[in-house]
């Protein structure tokens, strides 16, 4: 079935979006060969070209998830579920409550796929808020433990929601991704000197850090949990700071950091940048995003 879908997708892309497919294949080069992602993209392409058919397919899929398509993704989902249940056991009664709320949330959301992505985001944000409030006020769980639980809740629900809410076809995220990708490619002539980037790549240690930073930012696309994506940005930022520190022998200020981050993004041209940023904004637990260190690096990006 997978093969048939892929063929169909290919055929429809050839006929209806021939002009676009050239750009698209370039876009695809950037991706790693991880199977699940490839499948999603192909499917997305397919659905974009015939919306009605796609809807039907999705409903079917929801009723009887086809193991052949999402095998790898579902192995990961199962692993995350197991870990979540193990974790939640350590919270005893509040833990059972969290689990029940998560199940209810996922069930509710499965009936709300027609809502706009902003509304779905709002639902998720309300859910985070409600669960955190509940742990704190009803179960009197101390703040550090609430935070830890919320991280796990995010991981659990977003691993499951990812395929529906990452780069959804109801938005123009994918179009914007391609535009960003194209724009960055067009800026290939920009040099570190032009950006006044305070890193000397002639120093082997520094160029090593630059390569690591680029790898981190590209890796973001392969994560499914918003917080894991965020962690990639933070890791990337730390490598940038190291590169600056080795070059200048002083702690990096924002004046140093921002141009360097821009340089790294131009050099790495990370896949689906817009979609990843939107996804994090919409579905990350807000307490992480706004005040913490991760939030600062994310804002820079």
């Amino acid at each position: 079935r997978l093969q048939r879908e892929e063929e169909e997708a290919y055929a429809s892309s050839q006929s209806t979006q021939g002009a676009q497919s050239l750009t698209f294949s370039k876009f695809e080069e950037k991706k790693t060969n991880e199977k699940t992602r490839k499948v999603t993209t192909v499917k997305k392409f397919f659905t974009a070209s015939s919306r009605a058919g796609a809807k039907k397919a999705e409903i079917q899929e929801a009723k009887a998830p086809s193991p052949s398509i999402h095998r790898q993704a579902s192995i990961e989902t199962d692993r995350v579920s197991k870990e979540f249940i193990e974790f939640i056991r350590t919270y005893q009664k509040p833990g059972q409550d969290i689990y029940k709320q998560c199940k209810l949330f996922l069930d509710t959301m499965s009936h709300k796929r027609d809502l706009s992505i902003e509304e779905q985001s709002e639902c998720a944000q309300d859910f985070y808020q409600n669960v955190a409030d509940r742990l704190q006020t009803r179960w009197k769980v101390p703040p550090e433990k609430v935070e830890k639980a919320m991280d796990e809740v995010e991981k659990y629900i977003m691993t499951r929601q990812y395929k529906y809410v990452f780069c959804p076809e109801t938005t123009d995220d994918e179009k914007k991704d391609l535009a960003v990708q194209k724009r960055i490619r067009a800026l290939h002539w920009v040099t570190p000197q032009m950006l006044c980037v305070p890193v000397s790549e002639e120093i082997p240690e520094v160029s090593d850090m630059v390569v690591k930073a680029i790898t981190d930012i590209i890796e973001m696309d392969s994560k499914r949990v918003p917080r894991d994506k965020l962690a990639c940005i933070t890791k990337c930022s730390k490598h940038i700071f190291n590169a600056i520190k080795i070059t200048k022998n002083e702690p990096a200020s924002a004046d140093d950091f921002l141009p360097t981050l821009i340089y790294i993004v131009l050099k790495g041209n990370p896949p689906r940048l817009q979609s990843n940023i939107q996804y994090i904004t919409r579905f990350c637990n807000p307490s992480r995003l706004m005040t913490g260190e991760d939030g600062y690096y994310f804002t820079n990006l």
Binding site: L104, S121, E122, I244, P251, S253, D255, P286, S287
Partner: protein, 225 residues
Amino acid sequence: GGGARMAAGAGAAAGGRSFSFKVVLLGEGCVGKTSLVLRYCENKFNDKHITTLQASFLTKKLNIGGKRVNLAIWDTAGQERFHALGPIYYRDSNGAILVYDITDEDSFQKVKNWVKELRKMLGNEICLCIVGNKIDLEKERHVSVQEAEMYAESVGAKHYHTSAKQNKGIEELFLDLCKRMIETAQVDERARGNGSSQSGITRRGVQIIDDEPQVQSSGGCCSSG
């Protein structure tokens, strides 16, 4: 949508007297913003052996009269070409520290531009500090004390003089700012009817379903936002 939610959350946590504040640092490239925060958070100045990796995001914990305060200090790129990015940094800030160099008239002008923009975008919710740095270079002063202080008063900001080099005025600056932010947060809280920090948010979509009667927290939870 997210912005308003966060703004409410950035204030005071309900119940426990603990506050989390976001403070944004604004000012031209070479006015010493970074030295200022490094001095405050790490007590370091131009230290060649400094182990701090970066000074663009720093945090500091304080205890002011039994109230715990967590400060997150966000540095911003001072280059003119990044000016347009300002809003994404100062969004949801509780305080702003606007730094100029007392020997550089132009840097004071830049501060004035930031003040105008901040007041326009965030109104009076944000505590503004205008900081004349490098008072160790008093002899080369190009911005008059009186002018700077009068200007600050006219825009509802407070003015401070600091020297990161000599570690002067910096503790005072941050302590004072924290006290003002606490006050603002408390006024805000009272205005919202002592609700939880998220009381203004209308809940849509998913509701938490309860199988046992919910114990209501003391604060009203449905004041309009």
